[in-house]
């Protein structure tokens, strides 16, 4: 009974808030229903570790969705080089290039933020969480930089 009560009571209030993805909700606290405020102004979420965790997660989701298509594209080479070339022609369109640029950036980001998670979990030195939060901004910058290199070459 207690378990049922516990699960039934989700303490999520407001109207818009309920439609937001869970990471953006405000859990019934007073800043409810103001779009974006839950993320940026929520005092529990406006810190670097949260940015890193959300960035890590969102990039991971994007990569997971992209992967099957990436494999399908390479699989076209089963029909020889012509098949792959035909598929690569598709990737020549600017829109696809932009998407690829995004994915290269996200891959770099997922790698760098992932290294941070591994360091947080599997190393232990004084103040390591604090020190590792300094890793967040350089990771973002590096990923954008990697993306730019890709974009410059791809066009």
């Amino acid at each position: 009974m207690r378990e049922a009560e516990r699960r039934g009571n989700l303490y999520e209030f407001g109207t818009l808030s309920k439609r937001l993805p869970r990471f953006a909700r405000n859990d019934g606290l007073w800043h409810k229903d103001i779009f974006l405020k839950p993320i940026i102004m929520n005092p529990l979420r406006n810190h670097k570790s949260y940015i890193a965790a959300i960035g890590h997660r969102l990039s991971g989701i994007a990569l997971a969705i992209f992967l099957p298509f990436h494999f399908l594209l390479l699989g076209t080479a089963l029909e020889g080089a012509e098949g792959l070339d035909a598929a690569l022609a598709f990737t020549d369109s600017p829109l696809v290039k932009i998407a690829e640029w995004g994915l290269v950036m996200l891959l770099a980001l997922h790698l760098l933020f992932g290294l941070r998670v591994l360091a947080l979990e599997f190393t232990n030195w004084p103040n390591h969480a604090e020190t590792l939060s300094k890793w967040v901004l350089p990771s973002l910058v590096t990923s954008v930089f990697v993306g730019i290199i890709f974009l410059v070459h791809a066009f």
Partner: protein, 107 residues
């Protein structure tokens, strides 16, 4: 089970970190003057080293990604646990099949 999944995901992450680093380097190197099938296949075909590299890559990704997706679904959707587990098994198989097919195609 949870513990095994956790260990699998973190161990695969450690290896993937290295592989992704090489992969990213290769992407930036390969796109210097556009991508062509001849160039890609010229690099990969018949090369046992790249075959091993990409084979391992696919295997690790098929372990790493579904476990991560599982956590996301658990936390951000209200789907029942059994549904989430089936979806993730399906996703793992999809990645394995398509991944190895792709590796087979380019080597």
């Amino acid at each position: 089970m949870e513990r095994r999944l956790f260990v699998l995901q973190r161990l695969s992450a450690m290896l993937l970190a290295l592989l992704v680093f090489i992969h990213l380097g290769l992407i930036l190197f390969a796109v210097r003057d556009g991508l062509s099938a001849a160039e890609i296949l010229g690099r990969t075909q018949g090369n046992i080293l790249w075959a091993t590299f990409y084979g391992l890559f696919v295997l690790l990704v098929a372990i790493h990604a579904p476990i991560g997706v599982r956590k996301v679904l658990q936390e951000w959707t209200g789907l029942p646990a059994s549904t989430i587990n089936s979806v993730c098994w399906g996703f793992a198989l999809l990645l394995l099949v398509l991944g190895f097919r792709a590796v087979a195609a380019v080597v």
